[in-house]
């Protein structure tokens, strides 16, 4: 049997299962309206088909996966474009541009808005589309230059303030939290998450981690002796960080799997 024939047989089986599922889901619908039941049955069955098509990639690449992937990309692009139109053009431009247009789109007209200023982004937006016309495509660079310049300027100040200065400031933490002497510390020692011992331990981990991490990235001095030890600790801290990130990533992916299997068992098979 050639691979083409096998593919045809597989497609026929998938189509048959799809039809049976659609009929059964439509029949078990809760609505009084037959149309609603048939529509909901189709939507659930189609969602199941797409879920299983994506999962089929775990076995190997195949046309069902390709179809689901292409559909996802296409729908996402169209969805964002439509929302961009309704939220920005209709939501922000129309209420400031024209009373009759506002009435047409059922959005409140803004009488006292800065009507002239809104045409600047409109012009920039239109010339961005000149990329579609090769002869005047160079015009779109003005819009891109504006976008890149404005974003870079905006981000530079905010990242410098919040991601650099504030983070340095956040690293200045007390190494002995609520310290009232060794006796008091020993008497009240506990492993409670909000206790003094854990607070002190956490701050020491942050302090040692930051210092050793910085030492690891200090390349003007050879990593030998005490400096070398600190550098080794730094790389261990980095490894633990990467491990924690990977652990979180695993948790995220499992959550998505749980979500899909819950959908298959609950909405489709009704066994939950």
């Amino acid at each position: 049997m050639t691979s083409k024939t096998a593919m045809r047989i597989l497609t026929a089986i998938v189509a048959l299962i799809f039809l049976i599922s659609w009929i059964m889901k439509s029949g078990s619908g809760m609505s009084d309206s037959a149309f609603t039941n048939v529509r909901d049955g189709f939507l659930v069955t189609f969602a199941v088909f797409l879920t299983l098509s994506i999962f089929s990639f775990l076995y190997r690449d195949n046309p069902f996966y390709k179809f689901a992937e292409s559909l996802y990309v296409g729908i996402s692009a169209g969805y964002w474009m439509c929302y961009g139109f309704w939220s920005t053009v209709v939501g922000n431009f129309v209420p400031r541009a024209s009373r009759s247009l506002s009435e047409f789109f059922h959005v409140p007209y803004q009488e006292h808005a800065d009507h002239i200023l809104i045409y600047i982004p409109i012009i920039f937006g239109l010339i961005l589309l000149t990329r579609l016309l090769p002869k005047i495509g160079w015009l779109s660079r003005w819009s891109l230059a504006f976008i890149i310049g404005a974003t870079a300027g905006l981000n530079l100040t905010r990242y410098l303030r919040s991601d650099f200065i504030s983070q340095v400031s956040n690293s200045f933490i007390p190494l002995f939290v609520d310290w009232k002497g060794v006796g008091d510390f020993v008497n009240h020692i506990s492993l409670a998450a909000d206790g003094q011992f854990i607070a002190i331990l956490s701050n020491w981990v942050i302090f040692v981690g930051v210092m050793c991490g910085l030492v690891y990235f200090f390349f003007s001095k050879e990593h030998k002796g005490a400096f070398g030890v600190a550098s080794r600790v730094g790389i261990w801290i980095l490894m633990v960080t990467f491990g924690a990130s990977f652990g979180y990533t695993v948790m995220g992916r499992i959550s998505l799997l749980v979500g899909r299997i819950t959908f298959l068992f609950g909405d489709w098979l009704n066994i939950l």
Partner: protein
């Protein structure tokens, strides 16, 4: 009973894989996928659940909402898409329940186009049936999505009406009673972003919380959570990281407000399969290392 059946099935399978590995046979990657899938499926079918206790990073968000005076203004931004929804939607729903239970005013918005549709699901499935007395425009409002990423925050930090002439339903903001004393984000008591990409919690800290000196909290997908930890506790008052964070919040919500106990807390339900899957993955790592060290020792001997 479910736990015992799951343990026997999964444990038996793991022992078989350990036996194959020790014998030096390769285990196909598809067996690993199948195993993780079967583990999750068993845990879902048998409804395995484990208790959760809120950690300080989650508890601080909960306490903030719990202790704000009734009528406080809280922004809840839906900055996610369907791919992140299983993880972060439970957080968003828990926030809605808690905020409205405490009689705060809730301002919904979204920096992701997909967020607006997911928000309408939460409104229909959680807010309207569970809080039938909550009035639109008085107790809550939906500003909807605006394109512009952090640029949107840069504008609304000084003026809401410039970026949002109307809400998602086309009503002028001035027509909504809850907007009477609101000019910008600076008038808010708490900002909450639920998301996991860009723009998300980080952008809310950088472009709204920090410059406006407004209390900011977040709920993020697990993948991006480690990158947000450095902002806690000074730039973020708290953070819900992935399903675990959502489950801790739900546990605290049920403990403090028992009426939500029968609302089917999804994150708590997800932690059973999650835990079982983690156990299997750890077992695979151990099996892989045992097989590796055995093969290395055999290599040295020969």
């Amino acid at each position: 009973m479910g736990l015992i059946i799951s343990a026997v099935v999964i444990g038996g399978g793991l022992l078989w894989i350990l036996y194959l590995s020790i014998k030096g046979q390769d285990v196909d990657r598809r067996i690993v996928y199948l195993f993780v899938g079967a583990t999750v499926a068993l845990a879902i079918i048998f409804r395995l659940e484990f208790g959760e206790v809120a950690t300080p990073i989650v508890k601080s968000v909960f306490d903030k909402i719990e202790n704000l005076p009734a009528g406080s203004k809280i922004v809840l931004s839906y900055d996610f898409d369907p791919a992140m929804a299983p993880e972060v939607n439970p957080m968003a729903n828990a926030f809605i329940r808690h905020i409205l239970e405490k009689k705060h005013r809730l301002f919904f918005m979204s920096l992701w186009a997909t967020g607006q549709s997911l928000l309408s699901v939460s409104l229909n499935d959680v807010l309207k049936p569970e809080f039938p007395d909550a009035k639109y425009g008085v107790d809550y409002c939906n500003l909807g999505y605006k394109a512009g990423n952090e640029g949107v925050l840069n504008v609304v930090i000084t003026n809401f009406r410039k970026m949002f002439p109307s809400d998602a339903n086309g009503n002028s903001l001035d027509s909504l009673p809850m907007f009477k004393d609101v000019e910008s984000l600076k008038d808010m008591d708490l900002l909450i972003s639920v998301g996991g990409g860009k723009p998300g919690v980080k952008e809310w800290v950088l472009f709204a919380g920090d410059p406006g000196k407004i209390a900011t909290a977040g709920g993020s997908a697990a993948v991006s959570t480690p990158l947000l930890y450095p902002y806690w506790p000074r730039q973020l008052i708290g953070l819900l990281g992935g399903t675990k964070g959502a489950a801790e919040y739900e546990a605290e919500l049920i403990k403090t407000h028992p009426r939500f106990k029968d609302k089917g807390m999804p994150a708590l339900r997800m932690m059973g399969p999650q835990t079982m899957a983690h156990v299997v993955i750890i077992a695979f790592i151990v099996i892989g290392n045992v097989a590796y060290f055995r093969s290395r020792r055999k290599g040295k001997q020969s």
